[in-house]
């Protein structure tokens, strides 16, 4: 089971950012590294690691890193 810090580290690795460079309040759209491939890569990781793909409405309304992390938390607490 991953904690928030580990999940953030995993996301940094997936989108090829330096460790510790992401913060939960970061707005995804403002990150130069955040593009379609980064987004899909994170969702593919969720699918592989946690065996789920978030609902379309959730995915289309993600704004921040915290929103991205919350998707996993919501799933794991169900």
């Amino acid at each position: 089971m991953m904690n928030r810090k580990e999940l953030l580290s995993a996301i940094e690795k997936i989108i090829e950012l330096e460790p510790g460079s992401l913060h939960e309040e970061d707005v995804l759209f403002e990150l130069a590294a955040w593009d379609s491939i980064a987004f899909l890569s994170v969702i593919a990781f969720y699918d592989e690691q946690f065996q789920f793909v978030p609902a379309g409405e959730q995915l289309e309304n993600i704004k921040t890193i915290a929103d991205l992390v919350a998707l996993v938390e919501q799933r794991l607490t169900k």
């Binding site: 995804l28 759209f29 955040w34 593009d35 379609s36 491939i37 987004f39 899909l40 890569s41 969702i43 593919a44 699918d47 065996q51 789920f52 793909v53 978030p54 609902a55 379309g56 959730q58 995915l59 289309e60």
Partner: protein, 185 residues
């Protein structure tokens, strides 16, 4: 519903011409338009009405036209087609990155009744090659010097996605949700 798709009409000619002639879009397409004009674009759209092998849609985010989808080489005999998509604005492109392909595949598999989607991607289009892999499409071929464009040959990757494989995967939308997003389904 935020994302939805409307069949292309003659009223879209000017917008489609703007997108179709934008270097960011055309650099990854197999052909460029010859002497492009709104009249030619409109005539092309009119010609689509009689075609069984091709369908095109404008993608809307709420009321804003943000992109284009096509289903080409629709083959009823062998139940397959090819797809092409682009979203013009970066913000919408990212917003719908994780859902757009589900709309495309569900339409092809459950409305066009295709068994397979086959997409060809130019070698230089590295982003789409990566996206195809993330969509879990299967790389089935690599054609050398397959496209001649502006005096240069280009290599092409071929991907396929079978309906039976797609149905085993997790998706962010169900077919009923996708159905509501298309104005002709």
């Amino acid at each position: 519903m935020s994302l939805h798709f409307k069949r292309v009409t003659e009223a879209d000619a000017e917008l489609l011409l703007k997108w179709r002639t934008d270097p960011e879009i055309t650099r990854h397409m197999f052909t460029d338009l010859i002497d492009p004009s709104v009249e030619k674009q409109r005539a092309w759209i009119t010609s689509l009405a009689s075609r069984e092998d091709y369908r095109a849609y404008v993608i809307y985010d709420e009321e804003d036209a943000v992109g284009f989808i096509s289903f080409s080489d629709i083959n009823k005999t062998h139940q397959r087609c090819s797809t092409g998509t682009y979203i013009y604005e970066r913000s919408a492109r990212i917003k719908y990155a994780a859902t757009l392909n589900t709309y495309v595949c569900a339409y092809a598999f459950y409305h066009l009744h295709c068994n397979k989607i086959v997409d060809e991607v130019m070698e230089a289009n590295e982003s789409v090659i990566k996206l195809q892999k993330l969509y879990k499409a299967r790389l089935v071929g690599y054609l050398r010097q397959h496209i001649l464009k502006n005096g240069q040959f280009h290599d092409v990757y071929i991907f396929e996605h079978l309906k039976e494989d797609w149905e085993k995967e997790h998706h962010p939308l169900n077919v009923e949700q996708v159905k509501l997003a298309f104005n002709d389904w």
